[in-house]
C-alpha cells in the first residue's frame, strides 16, 4: 500500500491541454479521486436545470448492452453555467449538448470554497509524507465532501447525439490505441 502511494505521489498527473472526449459515467463513477481526469475535457449529455445545472449521461447504442447505463441514470454537476450564459449559448433544460471545460472537484457542502483537482490531491497527499493512515483519512474525507464537476467553458446544443458520441469515442480509441 505504502509503495503504491509513494509511487502515486511521484506520478503527478499531467494537465490535459485539449478537450478530451469523456463520458459522464467516467467522471461520476471514478471512486479514486487520484485517478480522476486532470485537465480539459468534452462531454456529451443532456442538460438538466433544477436547483443546479447538471449533465445527465446518455446511452451509447454502439456499446454492448451490459456496459450501458440507462439514459439519465447519472448526472454530473456543472459549474460556471448560469441562466444568462445558458440562454446566450442557446442551451436549455432537457436539450442534448456538448460541453467543453475543465474537470474539478467541488466541495458540495461548502460550495463557495475553492475547487480541487486530481493534481491538488496528489500534492496534498505528498505533503503528508509517508503517513499512510493520514493519507487514507484525507482520501475518505474528500470522498464525503467533494464531487467531480465540470467548470464549463463552452456549451453547444447538438443533434444526432448518439451517433456523434459513438464516433467521437471511436476516434478516441483510434488515437490512444496501443
Amino acid at each position: 500500500m505504502s509503495e503504491e502511494q509513494s509511487g502515486g505521489a511521484q506520478n503527478i498527473p499531467e494537465y490535459c491541454h485539449y478537450f478530451k472526449t469523456l463520458l459522464v459515467e467516467e467522471l461520476v463513477l471514478e471512486s479514486d479521486y487520484r485517478k480522476l481526469h486532470y485537465g480539459q475535457c468534452s462531454v456529451i449529455g443532456r442538460l438538466r436545470v433544477a436547483e443546479h445545472f447538471r449533465l445527465e449521461n446518455v446511452c451509447v447504442r454502439s456499446l454492448p448492452q451490459d456496459c450501458c447505463l440507462p439514459e439519465g441514470a447519472l448526472s454530473l454537476l456543472l459549474l460556471g453555467l448560469t441562466y444568462d450564459k445558458a440562454t446566450k449559448q442557446r442551451v436549455s433544460n432537457g436539450c442534448y449538448c456538448i460541453l467543453r471545460g475543465e474537470v474539478v472537484l467541488c466541495n458540495v457542502l461548502r460550495p463557495k470554497s475553492p475547487t480541487l483537482t486530481a493534481r491538488g490531491i496528489h500534492e496534498q497527499l505528498a505533503s503528508l509524507g509517508q503517513d499512510s493512515l493520514a493519507q487514507q483519512k484525507l482520501l475518505s474525507d474528500l470522498k464525503l465532501t467533494h464531487k467531480p464537476a465540470i467548470a464549463v467553458w463552452f456549451a453547444q446544443k447538438i443533434d444526432a447525439t448518439d451517433e456523434l458520441l459513438s464516433h467521437r469515442l471511436e476516434i478516441r480509441s483510434l488515437v490512444h490505441e496501443r
Binding site: 485539449y18 456523434l164 476516434i171 483510434l174 488515437v175 490505441e177 496501443r178
Partner: protein
Amino acid sequence: MDPNISFFDVEDRVDNFIIRKKQHDIQTTDSAKSGPKIHEDIPLTIAHILRATQDPETPDVFITYNANTNSDPIHFRTCIVYAFVSGYGTHNTAFNKYHIDDSTGFLEASISKGQAKKQIVACLHAEATSLASSERYKPIAQSLIRLLGAATEYIDPGAITRGHSLFLRGRPTLFRGKMGLDAYSFLIDSGSSRKQEIAFADHLLSWHHDYKSTTQVATNK
C-alpha cells in the same frame, strides 16, 4: 459549356464548377519516385499531427503514426482536420491564428487573411456596382455581386469566432519546436447539426481502417 444557358444558371450551378476544378501538379509527384506512397489531403486528427515528424530527405513530407507504437507510418504532404475553435492566437498582418481542438489534441492554426484575393474581390465588386447602374448590365452585375459575397465567406477568416467548428485543409508546420498547422483553406460549420462532424469522423475512421488493412496485407506477404 452550353452557350445558351443564362448567367443565372451558372449562379445556380456554381457548386459544380468548384467540385470539378482540377487540382493539378499534385498527382504527378506521387508516382515519380519509388518508396512509400505520399498522401495528399488525408483526414487526420490533431493527435496525428502533433506526433508527426518531418521526413529528413524531403522536408515537405511528414510522417505520422496511428498509435504510439511506431508501426504503419503514414507519409503525407497535406491533410484535412475538423476541429473546434477554442481561442485566438496573436493575429499578424498576413495571418489569423486560431487555437483549434478536436478532442485529441490542441494546436495553433494559421489561416491566411487572403488579402490579395480580398483585393480582387473588392475591385470586382466596385466594377460590378458601377455596371449595375446601367440597365443593360444590371442582371449580370447583380449576379456577380452575389457570387462575390458568397466567395468572401471562403476567403476571409475574420468570420471565425470562438465556439465555431472548422474544416481545415493544410500542412503541419514546425515553428520554434511547436507543431502548428498552416491552413490553405477553411470551411466554417456552425449550428446544432453535427452532420458534417459525423461525416468527417466516418471518413477519418474508414480511411485509417482501410489504410491499416492495406499495410497489414503488404507486411504479411
